[in-house]
């Protein structure tokens, strides 16, 4: 495994009284106090780490801990106050403007939290942007960009404008724009944080697949520990501009470096702190009554082996559910006249996104094998089956065992 990026004593202070601010920061003074005394913010303080080629390196920390600043120091969107950034042994912090531009064009591409797509350019023109500024001929860059869009299943949307796409699709374009450059390194600053949980999960899976195939070196910023644990090969935890621990997810969970990390990590192994939002899955046994009749519903249940179907309409509202038994009986009795109305039941449990998990245990126990429906703004967002909770509980149990050992 070769080292791709090496960061040494990297420091960024916003403001004038740099020395004084750093001194105070090294005495572990609070950020507010430093700002009050010096009007300077120590955003990144003496950070050191190495990132291996082909690794997903996650930088995690609370809001304001310096993650965005750190990732922008790597491609010098923000100029470092002190320290070095080595990319394959080349010191990026010493590059001339022209050389730096060349590095940005060919070696590092960035994906942003708010997508940062150019609103006046089509999806294709956005994807071409990096190649265009680099001077690649129009025909060739269109071909490359179309390939990148095709890989993310977005080719059909190439002539749309960003605002016409959903958030998830926009970020896929953002990713395609980065990949069209064929960079060695991807910098991703909270790239999935603005997406809703189910889409975010999908994007995480896609990113991991992509990593399998393309072996990019990815620096991924997040404030979400679950996301960090899911996709990170290694995780660096930041607090007030300093890196307090670097390690694999396992190491951080089982062996927190200090009290701060311990408190951070407690969030994952306590079911009380997780909400249903974190463990729900996409409803599969669901049917849109505006589009499909009862016979189609029966067919779905038989072919997919679902004992029930959740009923929804085109607005994703929850209308109730039907069981396979009731449906079969209704069709037998009424034939073509059989209707959802005759057999719909509504006694399924419905909870909000932020319901703590223990609250739903008894719903899952009381209602046979029916799921609990998670709703937000009158729309179905997901379902929780018994297995979702069992998976969670078993992972907690494992962590507790490994802590004892």
């Amino acid at each position: 495994m070769s080292v791709k990026i090496k960061v040494e004593n990297l420091t960024k202070v916003f403001g004038k009284k740099v020395k004084q601010a750093l001194e105070l920061s090294n005495q572990n003074k609070e950020k507010d106090e430093i700002v009050r005394k010096t009007k300077a913010t120590v955003a990144v303080n003496n950070v050191n780490f190495s990132i291996n080629e082909g690794e997903i390196f996650v930088i995690m920390g609370l809001s304001g801990s310096g993650k965005s600043t750190l990732v922008r120091l790597l491609n010098r969107l923000i100029e470092p106050t002190a320290g070095s950034i080595y990319l394959d042994n080349m010191d990026v912090s010493k590059l001339s403007k022209n050389d730096l531009r060349e590095v940005r064009r060919t070696k590092m591409s960035m994906v942003f939290q708010g997508f940062a797509l150019f609103p006046h350019r089509t999806v294709l023109q956005n994807t071409e942007y990096g190649l265009e500024v680099r001077g690649v001929a129009p025909d060739e860059r269109t071909k490359i960009a179309e390939n990148a869009l095709d890989r993310s299943g977005l080719l059909a949307y190439k002539n749309q404008y960003p605002h016409q796409l959903s958030g998830g699709m926009q970020q896929r374009v953002g990713l395609a724009r980065a990949l069209a450059n064929d960079p060695e390194i991807l910098l991703m600053d909270e790239s999935f944080s603005a997406l809703d949980p189910l889409i975010r999960g999908d994007m995480q899976d896609e990113l991991m697949d992509l990593q399998e195939q393309m072996k990019k070196t990815i620096i991924f910023i997040t404030h979400d520990l679950n996301e960090a644990l899911k996709i990170g090969d290694r995780i660096a935890i930041m607090k007030d501009g300093k890196v307090v621990q670097i390690g694999t997810g396992e190491e951080i969970l089982t062996n927190p470096a200090n009290e701060y990390v311990r408190r951070f990590v407690e969030g994952v192994d306590r079911t009380k702190i997780l909400n249903v939002e974190h463990i729900m899955s996409k409803p599969r046994a669901i049917i849109n009554v505006d589009k499909a009749g009862l016979h189609l519903a029966m067919n779905r249940m038989v072919t997919s082996d679902f004992p029930f179907l959740i009923l929804t309409n085109s607005h994703h509202e929850f209308l109730g559910y039907i069981t396979d038994r009731d449906t079969a009986l209704a069709i037998k009795k009424k034939g073509a006249n059989a209707n959802y109305k005759d057999i719909v039941k509504t006694d399924m449990h419905i909870v909000a996104l932020d319901t703590p998990i223990p609250k739903i245990y008894r719903y899952l126990l009381s209602k046979g094998n029916l799921p609990v429906v998670v709703m937000d703004n009158n729309a179905i967002r997901g379902v929780i089956m018994r297995r979702n909770v069992i998976e969670l509980l078993s992972s907690v149990a494992q962590e507790e065992i490994s802590e004892v050992v």
Partner: protein, 286 residues
């Protein structure tokens, strides 16, 4: 009390400005003469061309254009107004004056844009430049427009060119301000995206800043055109021909009727230009 205020001797600012102006007038006279020749040439060419177009053709072209840019909304209001307005100007015998005014506005607006947009760009990219230019713009806009007429005459004599000069000074600020504002309002993440993909400053300007800022810049240009239109009466005081001169001479002879008619001509021109510009801008935006 007055003795405290009188501690310093009288500062002869008026005299200083006067001597500076007369110094410039003599020292830079080749430059001013050159500008005057070029300016007169441009204006004569444009006026000559516009005068050569038969009024009927002119009206038809404008009405068709007004209809064309509103074609998607299926609205004929602007086309009808343009027709009635231009016909009225012709009917009142104001056509030659109208052409002179139009030509004055076109030239001073174009020059304002050519100067103003680059100045606005520089301001948006450089905080020091902004700190210096902003008060100058404030000064240019608040100083009564008549005051510009004096150096304008000193530099360029009597005629169209000093009129254009005074109009530009008066009408330039909105274009500069709005260009600066529009570019500064480009979202930071977009600028970061352009930078992170290795854009040069020029590429960033052309591919990101100007397209995003365009509606704002257009709003500034629209104001600039309106302001230069509002200068036509004042410019006529130093010999610029056009509708302004008709208003002025009516004023001097206390002819209410003639003054009203010529003033109405200016209003009609203002409305037509304003509506056409706004519609055009909206069309581009979609």
């Amino acid at each position: 009390m007055s003795s405290i205020l009188a501690i310093l001797p009288h500062i002869d600012l008026a005299g200083k400005v006067e001597s500076l102006t007369s110094f410039l007038t003599t020292a830079w006279s080749p430059l001013f003469d050159g500008i005057q020749t070029v300016g007169n040439g441009m204006n004569d060419a444009l006026t000559g061309f516009l005068q050569a177009v038969p009024p009927a053709v002119f009206v038809v072209v404008f009405v068709l254009f007004a209809y064309w840019i509103n074609r998607k909304r299926k609205s004929f209001g602007l086309a009808v107004f343009t027709f009635i307005g231009l016909w009225f100007i012709y009917n009142q015998g104001l056509w030659p004056a109208f052409i002179d005014t139009l030509s004055l506005i076109i030239i001073s607006s174009l020059l304002s844009i050519v100067l103003g947009v680059p100045i606005g760009i520089i301001m948006s990219k450089n905080d020091t430049a902004q700190a210096i230019i902003k008060p100058i713009l404030d000064f240019m806009q608040t100083m009564p427009a008549f005051v510009y007429l004096i150096p304008a005459v000193a530099f360029f004599g009597i005629g169209v060119v000093p009129g254009i000069f005074a109009s530009i000074i008066f009408a330039l600020p909105p274009t500069v301000r709005f260009t600066n504002l529009g570019i500064r309002q480009v979202p930071k993440e977009l600028t970061e995206a352009a930078d992170s993909y290795g854009s040069t400053e020029w590429q960033k300007l052309v591919k990101l800043d100007l397209p995003i800022a365009r509606p704002t810049i257009m709003a500034g240009i629209n104001q600039t055109v309106m302001l230069s239109l509002s200068m036509v009466v004042i410019a006529s005081m130093i010999g610029a021909p056009g509708l302004g001169r008709d208003v002025l001479s009516a004023l001097q002879r206390a002819q209410v009727g003639n003054g009203f008619v010529a003033g109405l001509g200016i209003v009609i021109l203002a409305i037509i230009i304003d509506r056409l510009a706004q519609r055009l801008n909206k069309n581009i935006k979609n």
